[in-house]
Subunit: 455 residues, 2 copies
């Protein structure tokens, strides 16, 4: 059963903390999963949170720490001494999680904590993991894994495996390496469970050599797509000489997927950092204001464009009526075109499709759209009994604007990708603002021409 956090339960915890009745709090938390305890601590004040955290047993505390919100974890780590982090936290968690925790500490504290680790292997593993740049497979992998050698018998492998498995939390796959530690294959756990403990069958005869691996410097996005493609629960990581150096598990990949999706969505919504509803107004402001300022700058530019037509507007103010329609449509079409490219790039469906093929397809969509919208708005303007000049202006400008916005919308994310900037940026306010302005320019240019045709 999963646990549902209720207000009365939270209140009981708070009261227990306020009255210093430690055993009551411990009793309340005793049956809960670390993730549930973390959810409770996330809701407490800083002092209450640290108090409850210190009541947990070391092993449980370590797991709870990993499940806390980023902000709460940061506070908690700041309140722990280097010795506590080394002994009570890092000793009890896998190397990948340990590296995550370390990367949240200031550099000086990192050095202190590493020096305090007793196990030399753990120290070396952690130092190695911290060398991989963020966003690579190396930074995501754990060092803990179970490996056997190709030239071992099944019987020997089982003995070795049992020994190694004690150190590894979740064993899904046993890796098979040669004498030089080069990855040769995998032994699904099921396989080993059902093979008899023969001393004559060698591992190389029963292992599956068809194994997908990644390099330490493989991009995490590539790792995500390989895991999804091959429905893998765990992927081995090798170095440049094909030697097995770690493994990446699916839970870490799910976190990356969530972060990526969040990032794209936030860029599309004009939010520049990872913020959520619980962040303070100042943090939210910092993430939101830059985009609004870009929009503002665009608006000022627009005002200058319109100012060029001040006289024309004085003579015929109806020209102003359809400015919002033109600008909004340009923005909407541009975002749609960009979104389709952004998704194609992410899913890899645009790999190998050349630029002109892509633009040509988009152009066909855009021409259809522009025709439908242009004719519709012409009919509406007829019904509204607008002047001929205005009716033609709006329809022709709308037609042109839809075509240009679609081309911009397609080209800009591809350009961003080339410049190594996240193409999802294209679906945010920046490109919309560009399209707004170019839409207005088109509108007034067309209007200018039309008013010469229909004076």
């Amino acid at each position: 059963m999963s646990f549902e956090l209720t207000k009365p339960f939270l209140e009981s915890i708070r009261e227990g903390v306020a009255d210093g009745r430690d055993s009551v709090v411990q009793e309340l938390l005793s049956e809960l999963h670390p993730a549930d305890i973390a959810a409770i601590i996330d809701r407490l004040s800083d002092e209450e949170a640290v108090y409850v955290f210190r009541l947990l047993e070391a092993e449980e505390a370590a797991d709870v720490l990993l499940d806390l919100d980023d902000d709460t974890r940061e506070d908690m780590l700041a309140s722990l001494t280097s010795k506590e982090i080394a002994e009570d936290v890092l000793e009890h968690i896998d190397s990948d999680d340990a590296a995550d925790v370390m990367s949240e500490l200031p550099e000086e504290k990192q050095r202190e904590v590493i020096a305090l680790l007793e196990d030399q292997e753990q120290r070396e593993d952690l130092e190695e993991l911290l060398t991989y740049p963020e966003g690579t497979a190396g930074a995501l992998m754990a060092k803990e894994l179970v490996q056997v050698r190709t030239d071992w018998s099944v019987a020997r492998a089982i003995v070795e495996m049992r020994r190694q498995a004690k150190e590894v939390d979740d064993v899904y796959t046993v890796y098979v390496v040669d004498r030089e530690d080069r990855l040769e294959g995998v032994l699904p756990l099921k396989e080993l469970l059902f093979s008899s403990e023969s001393t004559r069958t060698l591992i190389k005869h029963i292992c599956d050599t068809d194994v997908v691996s990644v390099k330490a410097d493989t991009d995490v996005e590539e790792v995500v797509s390989l895991m999804k493609k091959y429905d893998a629960v765990v992927l081995p990581v090798v170095d440049d000489l094909d030697r097995l150096i770690g493994r990446i598990t699916v839970d870490d990949v799910m976190d990356v997927m969530t972060e990526e999706a969040t990032e794209d969505y936030q860029l599309a919504s004009g939010i520049s950092e990872d913020v959520d509803a619980t962040d303070s107004p100042i943090v939210q402001l910092r993430a939101r204001l830059p985009w609004l300022l870009i929009g503002l700058a665009g608006g000022i530019l627009s005002s200058q464009v319109i100012a060029q037509y001040e006289e024309a507007l004085r003579i015929d103010p109806t020209m102003a009526f359809f400015m919002p329609l033109i600008a909004a449509t340009a923005g909407n079409v541009g975002v749609q075109s960009s979104a389709i490219v952004v998704q194609g790039l992410a899913a890899g469906t645009l790999d190998g499709v050349n630029l002109f093929a892509r633009l040509w397809k988009e152009l066909r969509v855009a021409v259809l759209t522009a025709l439908i919208c242009g004719v519709l708005i012409f009919l509406v303007n007829l019904a509204l009994q607008q002047s001929q000049a205005l009716s033609y202006t709006v329809s022709i400008a709308l037609f042109t604007v839809i075509l240009t916005a679609a081309m911009f919308g397609t080209l800009i994310p591809l350009l961003l990708e080339q410049l190594k900037i996240d193409p999802a940026m294209a679906t945010g306010p920046f490109v919309t603002t560009l399209n707004d302005i170019s839409g207005l320019l088109t509108y007034f240019t067309v209007a200018h021409l039309m008013y010469e045709v229909f004076p």
Copy 2:
């Protein structure tokens, strides 16, 4: 190693197909993973695709079919007879995948295929799975699992488990049930591997009773969040009497996560159906046009709003200069506010936070934003030497518009959630259009007042 699809490789396949040299094609595909073969078939023409598909062995063909793009799979299924689907596909895949395949068939073909299945248990499983509504745990689960009884000895459990495991592709967890099939716990595979084959130790003594399960009617979003929360690779599904009826594996959940993220992103970008860059112009048009028409309707409404101020515009056309700035800022702020609520709803961080607390926080962000933007634009207008009336109008209108857009942006996704409509809709063109119009109304109202103050 993962396989990289190259153009020359694809050409060799095409040539092999054109020349009818089946053995060449089979040879080329022989070492590849089903997911890689599927990626190749996705790139072929309909006829080539069916040709290559029929060259595959039944078991491999079934796996390849599951990995195809939705569109290609649809075509492929249409080209297969009911008998082929029953015998060559469904016999070789897990029940959850079988149910997915079935749900893509027309109803009549579904009945034909089910009648053709030879194994009665498979027929019943499939019929059961098809009864669960889309979007529930039941529709996502597989019936294949390994289960042992609390009152069995370890030795007996191992024998039974080996027998059952033959039918299950990937065994991660062994479920423990009581005599009435009620889920009592789990036996991690590692545990069983390392426990000696005792005839005296009972399963109930070594199983882990702390197990998270879901009901068949649990929403898939809830399943995703539980799996992420508990870092689970597989979740058991129980019926209303707590009897174990299936399991959901992480690969299916990853697919759901991707679909959800795509859906949110597409709604935010104004695309209503699941389309991608490879879809035909007509399909894309169908997904995009509705949103543009909403934008157009909004634009027409805006034109009517502005038309009310035709005389004022004739007297002072500078009033038109800042219309795009006001409308764009209203749109941008509204989308930001909505995006934060949408993410909070999805992540559950807004659970238990009351409406007024949420609005109050957003109001504080909005007031800060509005002050900064209002003052900035006032300074810019001073520098541009705009009239006093216009400068005050723009700043006051901008201030008001940011506050209202932030409140709308916060309320609308919450309202949509109440109405059981996807709140991500709020970050799309619909709400932006509403904010555009209300922005213009505010602007002209303020302008009207200002021109009375500064005649």
